[in-house]
Structures are given as C-alpha cells and as structure tokens.
Amino acid sequence: MCERERRDDTVSESIIEVEHLTKRYGNATAVDDISFSVSEGSIFSFLGPNGAGKSTTINTLCTILDKTSGRLRVGGHDVDRERDLVRKDIGIVFQESTLDSKLTVEENLEFHCAFYGMPRRNMSESIDFVLDLVGLRDRRNDAVGSLSGGMRRRVEIARGLVHSPKVLFLDEPTAGLDPQTRANVWDYIGRLQQQRDITIFLTTHYMDEAEISSSVAIIDHGKIVASGTPDELKARFTKESLRVTANDTNDMTETLRDSGIRFDRDGYDFKIPVEGSEQAIDLLNKVREDIKCFEVTKGSLNDVFLAVTGREVRE
C-alpha cells in the first residue's frame, strides 16, 4: 500500500546529502565539518560513543536543530528552505520517548497520522500494517503508559513508519533496553527493510548492532574518522585472528615461541593475529598435535573503532 514507484536509475542515488556540516554550542563544537551521503534504500549507521555528535547530526537533519554552517539535503529537499517537505519525507524514533503516555497506542498513531495530514480513510489500514510489523496489534487499545520500555520503543518505531516516510531515523533505538528486547528491535528493523522500500539512518554506540548496515560512518569528537561498508572497514582496519584451544598449554607455548609467533594467551585459549586464512593454515599445521579446537575470526566493528580511535567505545 505504500510502495513508491521504484525507478532503477534512482536506486543508488543519495537520499541524504550532508556537506560540511558544523554545529557549535557556544564555544563547544559538537559536529565539526562533516560530509557524507546515504544512498536510497540502504541502512546507514552512524557509530560513535555518547557525545560524539550523532544526535546533533540527526537533530539537524530532522529540522529541529539549526546548524551553524553547511548544506543538508533530504530526499532532494533543502533542510533549511523546504522544511515541511523534508518533514513529510522522514520518520523519527528519538532516543527518548516522545509518546503521549495518557493516550492509547492507537490514539498515538492516529494523532500522528493527523499531524502528517493523512486522510482518515487511509489511517486504519496503515495503522494495522505498522502494528502488525512490530507485533503490537493486540495492544492497540492499551494506554502507552502501561507498556514496557521495549514495547514503547516498538510503538515509536510503528509511529515513525505509519505515514510512509522515505527515510526512517532511529537515534539509539536500543539504548536502555535489555539484550533480548534489543535483539527484537533489530529483528523488526530487518523485517522493515525487507517489507518496505525505505532508507534507514540509525545511530548506535553498540558496535556489534551495526553489522546489518549497508554502510557505516564512525564519528568521534564531532568528526567522521572512518566510513565504508562494515566489511570494507574491517578489512582496512582489523586483522583476522586465529583462536586455538590447546590440549597442552606448555607444548603450545613452546612451539609458538620457537617459531617466533606473537600470541595472547587466556588459560587454554590462544589468540594469534593472522594476515589471512592461508597463514592460519600454516600456523595450524605447526601446532596441529596440541590443538583441541580452533576458529578463524574476523575483526569486529568494535576492533575497527579501537583501531581508528585508539580506544574502546566509551559507555
């Protein structure tokens, strides 16, 4: 019902373009001359620690925060000059709840539709669709105030989608949720991506959650320090490593030392950085008698962040 005509020549076009965005609060620079673009229909993740400038960037793109300088376009519309056109094209799930907790789930969605000028006859169909998507159809008459944190977040996601936006912004959609609910939220986001031709712009400081993205930009201290697909970033900034569990730790240690191989040891587990799988096979051959089991692991986005910024993500 909300499928937009999808022309092949526009698929890879940028739906979000940010050029030289800077935002200062007094003397503090929250976002420092950043540029990036997001292609239509992709999942774009903005990664970084709290206070890196993620929310500031999202808030300027969402038209609720004025920038200091730069040029922003969403869906081909200038964020300064065509505010309402931009607003129509986007859905937003803020970091903090923005639901009316006295109203029911359905009422929250209905008012949202009204704010977005949706004709009444289309409302219930759209509301049914998004409530099904987040699995809350049977809770439609419950007051939002009576829902758990995870359910509220799902209501917010449903509400962000009900007016069929071209871009859905998710600012830390899983912050403050327990691990299981976090997994569920990502499940909904994944399903959403499959069911609707929509661009998703998300921020998170949980690096592992960004694995589903088509592309990633890492921001730290207001600057983009690295960007690319998750695989590109891992290939560029991390090394694969071989994890070996030893039968006999003394033998293993001896063999590795004799061969001049660097390793980290944790009990029976040895972690050995390798250039690629080939090198891992050579290594395994050298110590094959002492091996109980092994695996070759790729670097994570967390490792990318560590390599790029020289430290772990601040919590």
């Binding site: 609720i64 004025d66 986007i90 903090e96 923005t98 639901l99 009422e107 008012f111």
Partner: protein
C-alpha cells in the same frame, strides 16, 4: 487547520483522561464559593445588592481564567515528557500548534466554568437564554485571553523549575485583587492602582455585568455595584473593560504565534532523559 484541530482534539482527550485534575479544580471552585459566601453575608459587601450572585459570578470567571492559564502552561509537561518533539518534527506550521493550544486551553476552561455556573444556578443565579449566551461569550474571551497569556509565559520560561512557583505567586494575589471574591471597594486605598492595572479586574466586571443583568443600571450604580470603576473621574465601564481584555488577548495571541514561528525549540533537548 487540520493540525490545529488534531492538537485541539488531543488536548481535549488528554484532559478528559485526567479525572483527578478535573475534580480538583472543581473542588477548589466550590470551596471558594463556600468560604467566601460567609464574607459576602457580612458587612464587607454592604453596598452590593446581590452579594451571593456577585460571589458566584466571581468564582465562575475565576475558574475560567485560572484554568485557561493553567491548561496553557501544561505545554511544559509536553516539553518535559518529549511529546512536544513529536509535534515539532511533524509538517505542521508552528502557528497552528500555538492556535491549537490556546483553543483547547480555553475550551476546557469554559467547560469547567460552565460546571460551576450550573452549580451557581442552583444557588440563586438566574440566567435566561440571551444572558447565558452573553456569559458564555465572555467566558470564551476570558479563556482565549488568559490561555494566550499562559502559553506565552510558558514558552518564555520553557520549563524552568521556578516557573510554577512564580506563576502561582502571581496568579493567586491578582485573582484576589480582581474582586473575584471580595469587592475591590473593600480593599485598602493603596492597592487601588494595582486593581486598575490588573486585567483580571476587567474580565470579572464584564462577566458580572452580563450575568447579573445590569444593562439598565446607570454608571453611578455600576460603580456602586463594583463592576465599573471611577478612576479619577473617568468611568471605566464593563464594556470598555471587555475591550481592554480583547485587546490584551489579541496581543498575546499574536505574541504566541510569533514566538512559536521563530522560537528555537532546540532547547527542548534540555529535557533529554539520559539512560
């Protein structure tokens, strides 16, 4: 216009869910009615011909302007709990938000006033259809004016914790100095300038004038009844007072619209809940 209507409906719905607030405000009005009825029976109101109706009218209009003001400042709750952000990112003209807020504040306030008015009808207030329409009209003017003032003040304050205390410190004494409960004639001479500068004085007078059928009274009698004021020989009639209120209301409504159109609501982020 759709958005204005949506905001209006949302505020009405929200209010209807808040039974405690409705009950508390009504209880307050009835308490004032009860307490001050003793004062009105005593010598304080010797020159007033219908002391009980005088009081009932005062409490009705007090309910309207106080509630309109309070309802408008409830926007601070919307800012604090994040809902304001939902409205601000929607493709709605900011002025539609302001107008929707003022309209809902006044509508709720008038509804509350009407409940007190109905109670008043049982206590001796006498209104025919025409006078009822007049009084509703004046209640509406009162609601719109003080709803606009409340919204303006609230958006200027943007949720400072001192705001609630400060507004209570202002609204309460100004209500007393409007003659809503006790005739202004009974108040000391040095307070008279404050009484004349207090907009609540004029809305209270205009309401009494309509609700107590005073069309046929002379100016001197109106002054006697405490609904017109002799300010150094210049007679400020209830009609003129109403005009003052309408003017003040329009000014504040314009200020609200302006404030909403150009205010940088990025300050809304101040209320972010950190996890």
């Amino acid at each position: 216009m759709d958005a204005t209507l949506a905001i209006f409906r949302r505020n009405m719905l929200n209010f209807s869910r808040d039974r405690v607030r409705v009950a508390a405000s009504l209880a307050m009005s009835l308490l004032f009615l009860f307490v001050f009825s003793f004062a009105m029976k005593s010598s304080v109101a010797s020159q007033i011909t219908q002391p009980m109706n005088y009081l009932i009218c005062g409490v009705i209009i007090m309910t309207v302007f106080q509630q309109a003001f309070n309802n408008s400042t409830a926007i601070l709750d919307d800012i604090a709990n994040g809902f304001m952000k939902e409205i601000l990112v929607a493709p709605i003209a900011r002025r539609e938000i302001a107008i929707g807020q003022v309209l809902s504040s006044s509508a709720i306030a008038v509804a509350q006033g009407l409940i007190v008015l109905i109670a008043g009808l049982f206590m001796g207030l006498n209104l025919d259809a025409l006078h009822l329409l007049e009084t509703i009209g004046i209640m509406l003017v009162s609601g719109l004016t003080f709803g606009s003032i409340g919204l303006f003040v609230a958006t200027v304050a943007k949720g400072s914790s001192a705001f609630q205390i400060l507004s209570a410190m202002l609204v309460m004494p100004l209500t007393f100095l409007s003659g809503a409960y006790i005739p202004t004639a009974a108040m000391p001479e040095f307070l008279q300038p404050v009484i004349y500068l207090n907009p609540l004085t004029y809305i209270t007078s205009a309401f009494r004038f309509a609700a107590m059928h005073m069309e046929d009274l002379s100016q001197a009698q109106l002054v006697q009844e405490g609904v017109a004021y002799d300010i150094g020989g210049f007679i400020l009639t209830p009609q003129l007072g109403l005009l003052v209120i309408v003017t003040i209301g329009l000014c504040f409504l314009a200020l609200c619209v302006r404030k909403f159109d150009c205010a940088d609501f990025s300050a809304v982020r101040t209320f972010r809940h950190h996890h």
